[in-house]
Symmetry: C2
Amino acid sequence: MKLGIYGYGNLGRGAEAAIRQNGDAELVGVFTRRPPETVKSETGTPVFRAEDVFSYEKEIDVLLLCGGSATDLPVLSPLLAERFNLVDSFDTHAKIPEHFAKVDSAARRGGKTALISGGWDPGLFSLARLYAEAVLPRGAGYTFWGRGVSQGHSDAIRRIPGVLDARQYTVPVPEAVRAAENGESPSLSPRQTHRRECFVAVKEGADREAIREAIVTMPHYFAGYDTSVTFVSEKELKENHAGLPHGGRVIRTGATGAREEHRAAVMFSLALDSNPEFTALVLVSLARAVGRIRRRGEVGCKTVFDIAPADLSPLSAEELRERYL
Amino acid sequence: MKLGIYGYGNLGRGAEAAIRQNGDAELVGVFTRRPPETVKSETGTPVFRAEDVFSYEKEIDVLLLCGGSATDLPVLSPLLAERFNLVDSFDTHAKIPEHFAKVDSAARRGGKTALISGGWDPGLFSLARLYAEAVLPRGAGYTFWGRGVSQGHSDAIRRIPGVLDARQYTVPVPEAVRAAENGESPSLSPRQTHRRECFVAVKEGADREAIREAIVTMPHYFAGYDTSVTFVSEKELKENHAGLPHGGRVIRTGATGAREEHRAAVMFSLALDSNPEFTALVLVSLARAVGRIRRRGEVGCKTVFDIAPADLSPLSAEELRERYL
């Protein structure tokens, strides 16, 4: 399969590495909104101007959209889905129905296939939630994230006046994880499930107490959580917090038996040194499925729920039954 | 969906309970090879003679085959697949290609849809292996089972002269699990991955040392493993080892990044008080998918790899995107 990468930040670079790990994938090029001559690809892949992507329509089987969910994907996915089979990682949960509808109609107009909200959450975690509830209809389900860097929360801190740079770690509360695993079916508030650890570098002379206050009271992001704020130098931030680790777990416990007298627990977990690199690997496996689905004549917008697992793998049906069943 | 249960042992009784937990499922009846008047169903479900199943062809959307893999399913699944959409839990790995081919041709002859090798291993664990390898092509994968009762190993002990009853627990070796989780990509022998614990009740005057020797040296089952044999009374066996707990975990660790400099770990695990009850819940969700696939006009033999996750759930595509994505 011939793939293109549209957007060349952390996720785009992850996609470049991911494509190299998949023997059946070939990278046509990287498309960026920056001047191509200022961008050096990791592996010598050709770098093109974003607006030239339409000239490569025939060369690209599936386009990996590696932009952000806040402003890029709501515009790009519907725009490109008419001309390209594509995969995106749209993760603004409340806006998925709207995004799905727009991408679906664009893809149908162009006779293309698109998959939205790929990655690990939404993505593999969504699958884990669906499978677990399908096989344990009587039960309770939980998702815990971290310990890992939340880009959205880090960005929110960076927008506070006086802040130079910041890194926010989302940390699951061990007691809540244990209660969920033990099938205690707890009803948990946000504060009870996750803590937030912030490492913040500030300008000289900045009012640290005011910044701390602005963080811990920030609606949606930090209010309602136990949040720790640690002020560090820019140097320390770069040295000790440069990575983008993440992960988490999906847990469902439920009852089985005629009198629901037995317990069952299903758990799926991820531990990732690099969130964008792993997300990109998921996108590449989804691109494989999108290409196959399109070749079978199915068009429109899909999600991970619509993808038969076999379509994610380069192996044949016989090999899959032999090796994994 | 209207379901029938064919075979009424532990798995069949689990299926009866599982159907009650699924609001969209209705149980037409239980089919047994024993005289129906000697069988009392858990929930007052009608009990029919196995050979009468063909009279219920029109009433049953999907038949759950709840027989054993050793002798029942190799005969029953191909026999019934021509007349019924069905789900089985065939788990003799080496014979899956043959079983698949027979069921496939029977189902195609009759215009029916069958799914073989459903449950958790093969089944959910197979899916976990496939997903994990699709998203982490460079890595190493492991499956650990237990701590749980292996019916096959328990039966093997029961066939030794002088043995009244027995229970064998398969126990994962913690050091091996840790090494796999830590991404050390160990190459592990059977002995290094699992221990076997046997609880055995013997006839009065039986030669315990000879029985112990017969167990620990039994080819395929116990030779090559560290096996403990504990002699207990029949009463103790019934009181303390009556349950059928099981579970285990699928672990894959791999490398991400342009220089494969980062680690990623994917894990899926199950902890089950009752293996057959949980297996049956998986079969019911697969039956839902089989019914839908057939209504869309697809016939022949399928495995879990061919089932789009959405088809396992009673929820609509919109509800799934809203609740799980």
